[in-house]
């Protein structure tokens, strides 16, 4: 038996029953988090509440900002000094942050943004959803940019991903977004709250630390003269091309003998696992392809897998957003079915089983 539910099969250490939001907050602390800036919104409030006492224990800075606009720009300022910095929010708050995220991407400032998705549009409600997939994976704000997007699906991954996020953010000098949701945020399950590695902040060559014994530095996204803006954008896109080559990651569960493939991420993948168990009890050979990185999308691995398993059921807690990436990834020979529930609805394993039988 694995020591922890999902994502930590060979992980040594003591299991603790932990809420997803708390696991993420502690994971960030253990990843060397220096500063947190945020504004309350359900269902992610446990993250700032926890960090408000935990971060000062490690000498870090916690500040409740006056708004999400302020939060993300405080993140930008703090991260510009080379610190490990994060914010967290949900739905409307993440929408408010988009301008700032665009500036972070344009100025190539690394940081961690956590979206514990709640259903919309508008104020919506605090029920779970995955409807912020487009916003997360297509940039979200103005301009041609991307954020790296990680999709946890267990308390263990909520704990583990902040470390990965900071390492990736610094490596690529790009914001990283952890796309969680109300289920993963509120769920409690056992996890090993001991990091697999140690934080390794990169030696900094760009941060604003005062022009002591070096020329003055500048961080910006605006280039007005000549072709400079296009040159700058090409630099960004060379980076995104590298990210698309180097980073895509997916987990495959019970795909070896599968005739039908479910493609789902995050909470929907958890529910899909239950559906797969039901299906297999009835003799249906169903497997799961779970993207771990949503940007870059693990399209190549999906394409390879679907050359063998050509019946695909995409399951999302939205009306078909990741579906676009699946369509882009696979060939025309693959039959793609979709089952989604819009904000406010959550698919049940039996719902998914019924759809499997239609494939």
């Amino acid at each position: 038996m694995s020591p922890s539910n999902h994502g930590a099969a060979a992980r040594p250490g003591t299991r603790k029953l932990v809420q997803g939001n708390i696991a993420l907050a502690e994971g960030a602390v253990r990843a060397g988090l220096n500063c947190y800036f945020g504004y309350p919104i359900t269902p992610q409030n446990q993250i700032p509440e926890y960090l408000s006492w935990r971060l000062p224990e490690t000498g870090g800075v916690f500040l409740q900002a006056e708004s999400e606009l302020a939060s993300i720009n405080m993140v930008l300022g703090a991260a510009a000094t080379g610190a490990r910095v994060m914010t967290s929010s949900s739905g409307p708050g993440i929408s408010l942050m988009q301008e700032g995220i665009s500036f972070l991407a344009g100025s190539q400032i690394p940081c961690l943004i956590v979206d514990v998705m709640r259903c919309g549009p508008g104020l919506g409600g605090i029920k779970p959803t995955q409807a912020d997939y487009y916003q997360a994976t297509r940039g979200g704000g103005h301009g041609d940019y991307r954020t790296i997007v990680l999709a946890p699906f267990s308390a263990q991954e909520m704990f583990d991903f902040p470390m990965r996020a900071f390492d990736l953010a610094e490596h690529y000098r790009n914001p990283v977004l952890i796309l969680s949701d109300a289920i993963l945020g509120q769920l409690k399950e056992p996890a090993v709250l001991e990091p697999a590695g140690i934080p390794r902040p990169l030696p900094n060559t760009w941060a604003l630390t005062g022009a002591h014994n070096r020329p003055a530095r500048n961080l910006r996204s605006m280039y007005l003269s000549g072709d400079d803006q296009e040159i700058h954008n090409n630099v960004l896109w060379e980076k995104y091309n590298r990210i698309e080559q180097e980073l895509p990651e997916a987990e495959q569960i019970e795909t070896d003998d599968a005739d039908i493939l479910i493609v789902a991420f995050g909470s929907a993948a958890r529910i899909a696992l239950s559906a797969i168990r039901l299906a297999r009890e009835e003799g249906l050979r169903v497997g799961l392809f779970r993207p771990v990185t949503l940007y870059p999308y693990p399209g190549k691995a999906l394409r390879e897998l679907t050359s063998r398993v050509n019946r695909v059921l995409v399951v999302e807690m939205n009306m078909g957003q990741m579906l676009d990436d699946v369509r882009l990834a696979v060939t025309d020979e693959v039959r793609i079915h979709f089952y989604g529930r819009p904000g406010g609805g959550v698919p049940t394993p039996h719902d998914i089983l019924a759809k499997i039988k239609e494939c």
Partner: protein
């Protein structure tokens, strides 16, 4: 082995604490477990409920689907959830707040009526131990979790201000178990 347990009552009856405790006990016994406070209108209007799953393998969905056992502490939750429980479910129902005479419209579930609130008052000196009476009753008939696992977890409470509460809770669990054992023996004797 896979269980889905529903715990339901109104806010202040310690439903979420109970769910957390059961999930901790499951983890302690080497099982996989999830605890999920239930979303939706049930969060409002004063009701509180959660789903605890226990399994010997990885758990997929942690959400409410079709519970196979339940601890229900108030009438509103009982009325709401009785129709959706799996056939053969075990239900510990707090008959201090649930109308046992007219309640059961299902013959395919096993309901144990326990006057948990009254017992809590009598045995533990506080209605706040209602959840622990019900837990004791549950442990007396559902064998997945051991009583001593629960007591072990409670015994690890290091906060001096909560030590007294721990003793109260242990007393209540014992009283809940004793009530069910007595019920069973009187039934067997009849």
């Amino acid at each position: 082995m896979h269980h889905e347990w529903l715990l339901a009552g109104f806010g202040g009856q310690g439903i979420l604490f109970l769910g957390d405790l059961l999930a901790q006990a499951a983890m302690r016994q080497g099982l996989q477990t999830t605890y999920m406070p239930t979303y939706g209108v049930a969060m409002r209007g004063g009701t509180a409920n959660c789903i605890v799953r226990l399994s010997d393998g990885p758990i997929g969905s942690p959400l409410f689907e079709e519970p196979d056992a339940a601890i229900i502490l108030n009438q509103q939750s009982f009325t709401k959830f009785l129709p959706v429980l799996r056939s053969g479910s075990l239900i510990i129902a707090n008959s201090s707040m649930i109308d046992a005479e007219n309640a059961n419209t299902r013959k395919d579930v096993h309901i144990v009526y326990v006057p948990a609130t009254e017992l809590a008052r009598e045995a533990a000196g506080t209605e706040r131990a209602t959840n622990m009476i019900a837990l004791g009753a549950f442990l007396a008939v559902e064998n997945t979790l051991q009583e001593n696992t629960i007591e072990q977890i409670m015994g690890e409470e290091r906060n001096p201000s909560k030590q007294k509460l721990v003793q109260t809770n242990k007393t209540a669990i014992q009283a809940g178990m004793a009530y069910v054992h007595k019920l069973a023996s009187s039934r067997n004797g009849a």
